[in-house]
């Protein structure tokens, strides 16, 4: 028995002097490692599942939704959900004050909310990253101008600022989207700016400069990829903020206008029936809560997985 340990058969292949390398080994390994540490966070995985469900709902709204989100049934005002007295299986989650199916409106609302969340974040990430890169690369006057402007934006309460912008542009989904994007902008500018300053001090940037890289190449090819981790995390968390802010604007009547089935607007429409028909307020509220929570959980999970300092 011990002999086997002491004398391995001669035919056994000796290990290669260097680990057998494969093309792209590093990249695949990095993805696997990322997934391994992301999976350990059950909340984040649940968040991903919820988001996937909502994305499916939004994508397949035309097939899933039992009714039109805007057509009303004059025979069925404020019908309760099916499990309550007076409810019916025609309208599973009941109807609102003018007889529109709640379930269908919620499903179509997912479309709008996701669109707003993703569009807002895409807009402010792109603009914010460029501004942050410019501020980080061109020190001096440009940096001061950009960063102080962002500081000013940060001093204003976010919802108030959004309301001001919408008041100037006029209510509507697109303008609410722009307003929320402006509100979120400073976060991305600051994160990028800070990351750029840390990265540009490193030798590889000087090395790239020495080998003749131009400023644009340095900004987008060399430095930006190294600033991505915090931006990805902030972007995920930003989606939830964007959805929430857009819903708030909708609630105040400044976002999506009726009859668009936006969750915040639905809440606003239902205000006066809170005491009589709980379902018209509760379900949009739950949808907002669940979606925002899911994005936050995923954002946290991403941060844990992408930040080596937080790894267990």
């Amino acid at each position: 028995m011990t002999a086997e340990y002491l004398d391995p058969p001669l035919s056994a292949p000796s290990p290669p002097p260097y680990p057998p390398p494969l093309a792209g080994e590093g990249r695949v390994g990095a993805v696997q490692e990322f997934w391994a540490s992301f999976r350990a966070n059950h909340g984040a995985v649940a968040g991903v599942a919820v988001i996937a469900t909502i994305v499916l709902l939004a994508a397949l709204a035309d097939l899933i939704a039992p009714h039109s989100p805007v057509l009303n049934d004059n025979a069925a005002f404020l019908k309760p959900p099916f499990w309550q007295d007076g409810g019916s299986f025609t309208y599973l989650l009941g109807t609102d004050a003018i007889g529109r199916d709640m379930l269908s409106r919620l499903i179509y609302g997912a479309r709008l909310s996701l669109l707003i969340g993703v569009a807002v974040v895409a807009l402010s990430v792109i603009v914010g990253t460029v501004l942050g890169l410019v501020a980080g690369f061109f020190r001096g006057g440009v940096e001061i101008a950009i960063m102080r402007l962002m500081d000013i934006l940060l001093t204003l309460p976010s919802l108030l600022l959004a309301i001001v912008i919408v008041a100037i542009l006029g209510p509507g989904v697109m303008n609410a989207l722009l307003a929320v994007a402006v509100v979120l902008l400073p976060h991305y500018v600051r994160i990028t700016h800070a990351a750029v300053i840390t990265e540009t001090a490193k030798d590889y940037v000087t090395a790239a400069r020495v080998s003749g890289a131009g400023t644009l190449r340095l900004m987008f090819n060399e430095v930006l990829p190294n600033c991505m981790a915090p931006l990805i995390v902030q972007a995920t968390l930003g989606v939830s903020t964007a959805i929430l802010d857009a819903a708030s604007l909708g609630f105040l009547g400044l976002g999506a206008q009726p009859p668009l089935p936006e969750w915040g607007t639905m809440l606003a429409d239902a205000r006066e029936f809170v005491s009589r028909a709980w379902w018209v307020v509760t379900f949009p509220g739950i949808m907002i809560l669940v979606t925002v929570l899911a994005f936050n959980l995923v954002g946290d999970g991403l941060r844990d997985a992408l930040d080596p300092k937080l790894k267990r």
């Binding site: 390398p21 494969l22 792209g24 080994e25 590093g26 020190r139 090395a207 003749g212 131009g214």
Partner: protein
Amino acid sequence: MALLEIENLSVAFPSPTAAGRAVDGVSITVAEGESLGVVGESGSGKSLTMLAVMGLVPYPGQLTVDRLAFKDRDLTRLSGRERRRLAGKSMAMIFQDPMTSLNPCFTVGFQLVETLRVHEKMDRKAARRRAIALLEQVGIPAAESRMGAFPHQLSGGMNQRVMIATAIACQPDLLIADEPTTALDVTVQAQILELLRTLQRDRGMALILVSHNMDVVAETARRVAVMYAGQIVEERDAAGLFGAPQHPYTAALLAARPERQESARLPVRPALRLRYGARVRNAARNPALDGWPDPLPLSARRP
């Protein structure tokens, strides 16, 4: 013909109290295929001089120079684009810390291939073949498989080899090595220096080796310039300089090497915040520098 001519190069950093010149009237000439060592303590302006040559004076430094020419082309007159083309191809530079000198986001192969594709206009396949050949040339085992490795997967010595491969990828006429071995352990140091020497000899490439390590310079460079407080205090052939230093600072520096040190201490550098130009001249009045000739000869140079 002189490959690189620097005449009276200064880099000043404006400050509200006193304008400090980190590099103060440095003149260096490097001939083709020559190896020049630049030594000096930390903060003597060695690296900054080299960065200035590459056109990379860090903000808010201000560069003034009478003549800065590479192959008889005035570098100060070139447009940014022309200068960048020249910088990557004919002049190359490697840095002290190989672990941070490569972009951590990309594989070493990608970075090497990118350099070749941009500067040599090679197609993907040719660049890859060339990159593998370069990695083999700088002594990286299993070069083909190392192409897919990220910088963090390689050791410091390996990364420095990759840096050297990137630097020599476009057959530069001048390689500036800014303390290329400081971050490496001694055995690897010797290998890297040997590699630089071999490359320099085989390619007829001029080499400027910046270091605070006298032994490294003594082994590698034919001519040595000693920098102190932003000025070149002595510049001679290596044998003469190490054999019979002319300037007291050089002598002090040599005497301060660990293997020679018995009781001598390197004189403390005069305070930094003196008015520019006053530093070395005032040095004689610094009690720590007693025994230095007065008035201090700014440079004891021999052609």
